[in-house]
Subunit: 325 residues, 2 copies
């Protein structure tokens, strides 16, 4: 504890496909300073790290310099916790065709600061355990419902990284054998149904396969987003409502399957789709109860992240920093 008192902050880096957002965060999850750079547009990862360190300097100075900082945590696509690397990240111009030792590179440029890195969904789970609704929990599954479906699994108080650092890809659990094609090249993944893009896809399917009137018929089907569906649903559109019911029910069915692994204390949902609130959560819980194995009935809680908002990802990343042993 002494070291934490002497060094009261960590740096969190939410490394997204478009923006890289940095925050300096205290142990209670207060963001003391923040900055950002573009993630793309650099020829090499060295150039990216240069730009990042230059952007960090003023906010580090603002809290009293690097000696105030205990560690840095990074949430990044295809992040490998064990190696501190980003591996073959398809959406990163400087990271798509190899293994980038990003944690080591930042550490070297920041006076050997301890730096840890994991994927964004794992960072969200650690964030939830450090500052959010999972404080005090030792067995839970955090599910990120964004453009895709990510997951972070905590068992016995520890993140599950698996044998290779890439465990916890529940978005690619097959829930419908031979079902919808998924971006991963396989079929029937949870992500193909219960992500923001999955919701839009379900809406298009429902529109195509019926003549039911819907506010969504005023739009070009290709332009429909999950946000449009939720707006229509909030106006009482029956078809849009059924899209969320379908999504929630399938997610509940998937969670019932997940329970057979680790019988978690809670399922925690994070990300854009959770804004739909009860529209999603009510069918989800009902479907879970209907599908779950008897011994697990009425045990798990269903919670929405308390870290919602623009700073959630940075907080999650910073928590990876606090988590360094």
């Amino acid at each position: 504890m002494e070291e934490q008192v002497l060094k009261p902050y960590v740096i969190g880096l939410d490394l997204g496909g478009t923006n890289s957002v940095f925050g300096i965060v205290d142990s209670r999850g207060n963001i003391k300073a923040t900055t950002a750079i573009k993630t793309q547009g650099y020829d090499t990862v060295e150039d990216y790290v240069d730009a990042a360190v230059n952007a960090l300097q003023p906010i580090v100075d603002q809290v009293g310099g690097l000696e105030q900082i205990k560690a840095m945590g990074i949430g990044a696509p295809n992040g490998n916790f064990y190696n501190g690397t980003i591996e073959y990240a398809p959406n990163l111009s400087w990271g798509h065709d190899g293994v980038v030792p990003l944690a080591k590179m930042f550490s070297e440029r920041l006076n050997n600061l301890p730096v840890a890195l994991t994927n964004d969904a794992n960072a969200a789970a650690i964030g939830e355990m450090t500052y959010g609704v999972a404080r005090g929990m030792t067995n839970f599954i955090d599910i990120t419902l964004g453009t895709g479906v990510g997951s972070g699994i905590v068992i016995n108080g520890q993140m599950v990284y698996g044998s290779d650092g890439f465990a916890g890809e529940l978005g690619h659990m097959v829930v419908r054998p031979d079902g919808r094609s998924c971006g991963c090249g396989r079929k029937g993944c949870l992500e193909a149904y219960c992500s923001a893009t999955g919701v839009a896809r379900t809406a298009r399917e429902f529109l195509e396969t019926s003549d039911e009137p819907s506010l969504l018929r005023d739009m070009n089907p290709e332009d429909i987003t999950s946000y449009d569906v939720s707006v229509a649903a909030s106006k009482g559109d029956a078809l849009a409502n059924r899209v969320y019911t379908f999504t929630g029910e399938l997610l509940g069915e998937a969670c019932a399957n997940f329970a057979t692994f680790c019988s978690p204390e809670a399922f925690i949902f994070f990300g854009g789709l959770t804004k739909a609130g009860d529209l999603l959560m009510e069918p989800l819980k009902k479907s879970y109860d209907a599908h779950v194995l008897k011994i697990y009935k009425n045990k798990a809680k269903f919670l929405i992240s308390s870290l919602e908002g623009s700073s959630a990802a940075v907080l999650g990343a910073s928590a990876v920093g606090w988590d360094i042993k």
Copy 2:
């Protein structure tokens, strides 16, 4: 270590639906003495424990008395590790309608010996980690292919018991939504397909839905067991072979789903069905490769338990004893 030298043995109890088998086991997995009683036929659990302790006395004396014994481990249906209880075990005459504090009862009768209890599939996983092919592994899934399908999951070197002590029921992962009815009351569970009873069921289905000649047609369909199917397959029976191909393929598909959870170093198979060897394992591995998410490809090993044989379950139970902290 000192204590282990002073107390070189543990007691293992494989508490099955018919027999309760006890073994006194050293740290290398050598069974020094063994005995057994019937599991059923007692009016109360007290009577069962009385009979068990009476049967244990001579083999405990044989190794030098209780002072030579470090702990006792029990593998039992519906065993809850956290509480040391057997909870609502449908097949136990003295345990089906309540919570039986079996670990505590044995401990009290055995001079406060530390006693731990878990379900048989978890015991098998701990046994594999202690004496078998999982020695040195920290992330693996042990799958018991018996009358049902059980599982024990090890992550970061620890058994996964979940929030309630009942985690690791992968036999009840739904692999075919709205598929075959399962003994658990749900539909499409892995166990309904990839257990010994599932194999027999598949054989009956294949026989019913085709006119293909098969050695199995000489039998009353209701009498066919997985053993009969494997005997027919070993004689070159094409239909019987396809039963195992079907079973292996579905199991490989399920393992590909399990990988998204914990990316294990190995899948280890235990129990009667593994006697089919390559008949099961080849289609299993091929199907896993075809179904698994790209980042996990060519990472997991597929192993058959090295604890096969009549003593495996007792060894597994005894390992639960060594695992007491």
